[in-house]
Structures are given as C-alpha cells and as structure tokens.
C-alpha cells in the first residue's frame, strides 16, 4: 500500500506538496490517516516533465521523509506534470527498482494497492507479457508487472483500452484461480500530455482517491493534503479520469464504470 499524488497544470515547484502542511505527502508517509498501513517508509520517488520529452525520474529505497536528495530536488524542480510516491511494501524488498514511479520511455506509472494472491498468480501474469515487456522488468512488485502488462496491451497506442483490458485480464485470472483476496488499485499514468487516474477494486473497498481542482490545475491524491474537505472530490470507485490540456487549460473527462463488470 502506498500514498501518491499526481499534478497537472501551471508549472509549480514540487517542494510544497511533499513537505508543507499537516498532510503533505511526507507527513502521510509517517502518519497516514486513510491507508491500511499507517507507515510508508519503504521508499519514495518522483517523476516530472520539463524541457525534454522524456520525464526525469528519481527513486530511493529509504524513507522519503528523511531523503536529502528528494528535498534538494523538489526545492528546485518545477513542472507542469509530475508524480510523487511514498511506498509501504506488501512484500517486495526495499530496493530502488521496486520504487515508484516506473518509467518506460516517455510514460510514467505509479500505483497504490495490491493484486490479491499475487504470489500465486505471478507466473501466469508474466506469461501474458510481450517479450519486450518481460525483458523490461527489473524488480519484483505487482505494480511494475501491471505497468508492463498495460504496455503489452497497447498502452502507447490506445491507453484507455489498454488500462481497461489489463484490469479485466488480471481480474479474470484472479477469479478463475479462486483467489479470495481482492484486487484493489489506484493508478496514475501519463505520457506528459494526458494524465489518467484510476480507482478500482474487485470488492466494495476501493482505496481512496481524491481530486483537487484549482485555477485550471488538477491534483489527484491518495488522501487529501489538508483538512478542508470541501477542497477534495472523492473519485467514484471503478472509474477513471482523463485529464489533459485543451486550448491552454486542463480539462477532465470522467469515465464512469470504466470496467464492464459483466465482462469480468
């Protein structure tokens, strides 16, 4: 289980989102209010888009709250689309290749949640990967595997479909194998232009996901950064948001029931 935030909008310095206020991401890392696991000390990471088309990436396996590099980087980096993530391992070791965001060329991906019964399903999920995506995997998380499954399913060409199809495939396998544990996920994906955030669960306990919408900028978060509940809109379960620039401002397209439940 993890905590994350994804921003799209006017270029902003990243620092304040991680360190300022009572529920900044690094505060959540130590004392989350909404996560199943209260402590997220198993790594942190940052991805951001600037001048080159491909994003910058920084990941470290230690506690984000005490990481001097994360402090220094966020102090000077400003970006119009960025991801930040703090990790609480559900089993995979604390090594930088298991930290989020994950990058593939110009795409960034990050995740909170867990594939129920992942250890039992893992080998079959690997078998669904294209050769290139199999080769690309360097760590041991269900997160990285989900990302590569999406790429195998066409994330570069048709992102909405690839995301939907991947969720369906994993869910179908979980059911056919009779795994009792749920498959729950909030996911953010971007290519630097389009941001998709997803809230999904196979049961009625989807992990929380909120959106803050200010002056044409949007901030998606695992849990609110402040206590003024009126600032934060709870994204409905099993839906996806598609945020992107249109004529200079950020617009949002809400895809209800992004999963056809009778398919799965």
């Amino acid at each position: 289980m993890c905590r994350w935030l994804a921003y799209i909008g006017e270029p902003r310095l990243i620092e304040k989102f991680l360190y300022e206020g009572p529920h900044s991401l690094c505060e959540q890392a130590q004392h989350s209010h909404k996560a199943k696991l209260g402590v997220h000390g198993d790594g942190g990471g940052l991805g951001w888009y600037g001048t080159p088309e491909e994003p910058g990436l920084y990941r470290d396996a230690g506690p984000a709250w005490a990481d001097p590099n994360l402090r220094e980087l966020t102090r000077v980096l400003e970006s119009r689309i960025f991801f930040a993530h703090v990790r609480a391992s559900t089993g995979a070791p604390n090594i930088n290749v298991n930290c989020h965001p994950f990058r593939s060329e110009k795409i960034l991906f990050m995740h909170n949640g867990q594939i129920g019964g992942f250890r039992l399903l893992r080998r079959r999920l690997y078998a669904m990967l294209s050769d290139d995506c199999f080769d690309a995997i360097v760590g041991g998380t269900d997160s990285e595997l989900l990302f590569q499954l999406m790429i195998s399913n066409g994330l570069r060409e048709n992102p909405g479909d690839a995301i939907r199809r991947t969720i369906q495939e994993v869910e179908a396998l979980r059911k056919s194998e009779g795994i009792p544990e749920a498959f729950r996920a909030t996911i953010a994906i971007t290519d630097g232009e389009h941001l998709r955030v997803l809230r999904w669960s196979s049961d009625r306990a989807a992990p929380s996901l909120y959106l803050n919408w200010t002056n044409g900028s949007a901030l998606a978060v695992s849990e609110p950064l402040d206590e003024d509940i009126s600032n934060w809109w709870a994204v409905p379960a099993n839906s996806m948001l598609h945020l992107y620039y249109d004529k200079g401002s950020v617009v949002s397209e809400h895809i209800e029931s992004f999963i056809s439940t009778d398919t799965v």
Copy 2:
C-alpha cells in the same frame, strides 16, 4: 527518539526479540505505543558478544523492519550479551554512522532521548572531549557525543563515575545556557561483562525503561515486548542498574538517585 533492547544471560538467538510477538522491536519500529515519535524508520543496529573479546556490530540506515541483513544475521547469531536498536532521528541524517549501537574497542553504547538545545550546546560539548574522543567521532548525533564524553570521563576505568559525571556536565551546561528543553535519556552500556542501563531526565518526564527478569537472564527495553504487564518492571526515573555475572548467574545492583541533584 529510539527504541532499544539489551539482553544479558544464557546465550540466546537474537531473532525472536526483533521479529516475534505483537510488540517485538521491529513491530515497535512501525507502531510504538510509548514513544513520542510513533515511527522508528531511520535506521537499525545490532551489537553482540561472542568468542572474541570485542563485539560484533551491524548498523544500517534504512528501516529495520525491511532490512534483509538484520533478518539473516539475527537468524543465526546467538549471544550472552547483545544490544538491538531502531532509530527515529531527531535531526541528524539517516546514515549508518548515526545508527546505534556505537562501538569503542570492546564497549557498546546505545541511547534513546535527546539533549535539549543540542544545536546550541554542541560546540561546547565538543570542547569537553579528549583529543582521542574528538577524533573518534564520525557522525552527528548527540548519542555518539554522549558516548565519547563518557569515554573522556573515564568510562573504561570507572564506568559508574564516568556515566554520572557526564550526565552532570551536560545538565550543568544546559542549565547555565538557559536551555528550556529537557535533557532526557535512557542509555545502555556494556563491555561484554557488565551491563549498565540508565533512565534519566532533567524534568519529570523520563523516557520509559523496563526490565524483564527470567531464569537468571535480564532484558532491558524501552517498552515491553508483550502485553502481560506483570512481566515488566518499570525502572525508576533517574536511576541506574548494574547487571553482571556473579558465580554463573546474572545479578543486578540498583543505584537509586544516581545523580546527586544538588550538584546539578
């Protein structure tokens, strides 16, 4: 603020103290019940005595609960005197030289607490060190400095006096400089034969320290490892215990009011 445990007695495998039970040290690292800071993810360490006179030492700056080396080491190491520690930084960076225990030749030292106003007092405290002890310091914690002050004050030759004198000197400086924040500490020190544990505060809020006494073995802890309160004796504030082998069994000498309050 930190959590620690110190064991003296029949040789025991270290593993269970760190990983078994609802309040094992690595559980406390994630969810402490008695510490001011609930999370202790800023490093962990281990010191133990075996065949050679000098102890073994292992320290790592990441969260102890996720450290594979700590797991592997405690799985095979058994010892008649050992220390284990999980750290929550009060400011000094997460680097292995700031992790406990600290070792000087055959002596191990570990600490929970804080010297109030340490930043303001630090340079004067450094000035009290012998040249050798000044040279020996490689990190930036008040803990390492306290240890080296004790060595400067004769810890090798007359440990009880050196401990007492160091506490008095630090406390006297804190008072003369008008520092409002308290000086609080629980400390464990051993040379592999004699174990001294100390509970001290300049105010009435000394950090907790408990002793469990079973079959001639003694275990001193920052907080109990289980919920059966009858197993754990709360060491009185501002006192020191001296535990050692005598005719094959561990005995304890309790030194009340180890600090002459009129001196400080």
Copy 3:
C-alpha cells in the same frame, strides 16, 4: 564478472582473507590482476556456517572495500565453511538482491562469469524453472537464475548431477539459439558439509580458479591472495572439485571433464 573465495577447514576468522595482504579480496575488488573487469565495486557479500544448520548471510550493494559492516562482521566471525564475494555487474542493477552469495535454506551459491546472450535466453531459462524456483527469484542476475535452475534440477538431492545437467541445459540452449558469446563460469556451492567448486567455459577461455591446500584446509579463489605461485594450484578448465570432511580432515575429489562435451 566477480571475484570470490570459498574456504573449508579448521574454523578461521574471516577478516584476514578480505583485508590482509597485497591481493586480499578487497584489494582485488579495487585492482584485480586476472579479471576482465579490473574493478569490482558493485557489491559484496558473505555467507558462513556456524552453530545453526542454516548459514548466516550478509550482502550489500556498495563497494566491499568501504563497507563498515563487512569489516565489523569479518572481525568477529569465524567459520569452518565460508564464502566471500565482490561483484562487478555485467548489467543487472546494484541492489542487494543481486549480490552474492545467494541462499536457499541451508545451501549457499556464488558465481563469477556470464551466460553469453543472457538477455536473449532469459525468458526461456525462466521457463525451465520449477514453480517454487520461479517464485524464489527476487533479483535480475544470471547468477541467481543458474542457482535456481540447479535447484529445479535436483541440487538438494543429487548435487553433482544437478550442476552438470544445468550447465548442459544452458549450454544447449545457447547453441541452439546461435549465441556467439561464450558461457563462462566459476561457481561455488555448499550445504555446509560438502563444497563443490566448478570451472567451466564453452570456449577455451575459462575464468581462472585456484586452490590452496594447507594443513587440511582448502581455499578456492578466483585469483591468488598472494604472489607465491607455488601456493596455488590452477584448477583445470571444465572440471569440478568436491571437497568434504572425512574422518575429521578435508579431502578433495577431482572430477575431470565433468561435462560430457558430446552431450552438449
């Protein structure tokens, strides 16, 4: 490419093998004379057998020559069978799960060399693993994969055959896929009683492997620890040594041409 040493015999302190003399393992890490890559700064590790049946294990992804924990551990650990390893990555990231030795229950494994064309063969090699061995893999090295292939092939039950069969299978795949790069390896494997060291190459350039035999103790090394060449016997290419205790002293059985070349 890596440097390693494996010891069997009278219990010895590990320290001197890593730090003393002009060609100690940590010296080799900085200035190897015989390795293709002169610098081995991509991690170090230690495995040793003591009182419990399962070995102790310590691995770190930083340069072994500067690792304070390795220094402290080897200063106090003595053992009758131990492995030490310094790593130069051939591509897999510098993370502790990619460091040697690898452990599976009571078996330790370490490796120098490379499977030619590993990236191309990797997915097919994974397919040869038993489900348990697939699950056991946490890193990305050809070394860990070789170890798990051997376990899949019966390393616990019939170690000599499992080692031989694994080399043959990998070599057969390399040939059938038309990989031009050679498959070269020196490998050490032990269960705490029997030590097997192997020198293999698919071409005529097998990595070096030497044996030093003193007072009933044996030391196998990637390259000699001192310059007195008379102390070191060069193990012939494509052969395996089986070293074990018999009536209180270490004996060696030399298996020439351990690979039936016409099979591969």
Copy 4:
C-alpha cells in the same frame, strides 16, 4: 582523491559529460589515468543552476557508474553552470554527507586532493570555524571543512580573498605542526554566476587541472575527457581561474601565483 568537472556556458544537457566518450567522468571513475587512486567508487554527485537562484543538488554514496538516479537526472537536466564529481575516499566513510558537491545557500563547492596530516590538524581547523560554519558541518571530510573555513573567511562577501586566506591558514598550520605530507587541492566554487577553479599544492606535485574552451563555454576537469591533447589547457600550479559572464559570453581571468608564497 577525486575526479570532477565544472561547466559554465550555454545551457547543456549534463548526460554526455558523465557517460559519453572514452574518458567521460563515469569512465574515469572506473579507470582514471591521472589520479593517484585509479578507482573512484566511493560516491558521486551533481550540482546545477536553473530557474531558482539556489542550485539543485544530488549526491549518492554508491559508485557513480552504476547509479540509476544520476543517469536519469543527467538525461533531462540542462544547465548553464553545473558541477559533477566522483569520489575516492581518503578515509572518511562512504555516506552521502561526505559526497561532493557541498552546498551552502546558493554556493556550490567541490574538491580533489587532501590536507596532509588531516587527522592531526582537524581539531585546530575546527577551532577556526565561525559558530555557524561549525554547526553547518555534517560529515567528516577535509573537503567540507575547507568549504566551511572559506565561508568563515568571507567567501560570500569576497570570494577571491577568502579562498586565498583559507589556503594560507591551512598551509601555515600544516607547517607549524611539522606535517611532512603535502597539502594538495583542486577546487571549484561557484555562486551560479562566478566560477572559480583553483590548482594548488604545497609541493611540486599539484593534482592535474585542465580547461577546455569552446564557443564561449568553458569546462574545467581533473583530467581530459578525450585524448586530443590540443583541446585541453593545463592550468598552471598554484593559480586560480575566475570565469564569469560578461556581456553574454564567458570570460576568464587568470590569477597567477594566487598564493603569496612568502606569506606561507
């Protein structure tokens, strides 16, 4: 001993300086041709100036050649003034606070070399620091101490004088204490506008320092990045260069004999 490079000029992507060509900085880290120590695996770092006045900073204690974050950062960061450094420890531990560059507000500092007899002089050098500079030190290198001595001597207000005075003071102390080992250093310092690089030794064996001057950009390096010797001008020993923008282009002021030898 370390290897470093400092760039001033048209904004450039940092990547190629570290990874491209036969003598890029990360190649030098593994196989230096001119350094006393051939291997520089004890940490790496990066400092760069962009939009905010204060520079970005990244440091890691592992080998720079294998650091995925350094790769990712340099792939996207472009800057008009940046520093990069790979470290070979002369004694201080491999921890990020001992890695270069060091930052104080908007000033960056990095260093190659060594104060002869540093262990013996260290306490007296600490005594020369202002209280603020004493407080600012978090690691154990002579490099960080030199930087803070320069700040104590007025680096912010009058950089040329502060640098000169600090070298003189350290050298005077070394002589008065009868230290036989030389004091040698190449140093780079910048505030984001002015770059000063210094080549100094108390004997005739000053560490190498070269300058490449292309299209109004300047690159100062410990050793050349390519083999075309005509590209690289050897900075004379015991002199300092002052490089800065004037009317849109970089100019250089060469200060011969920046140390009055009769003073020291």
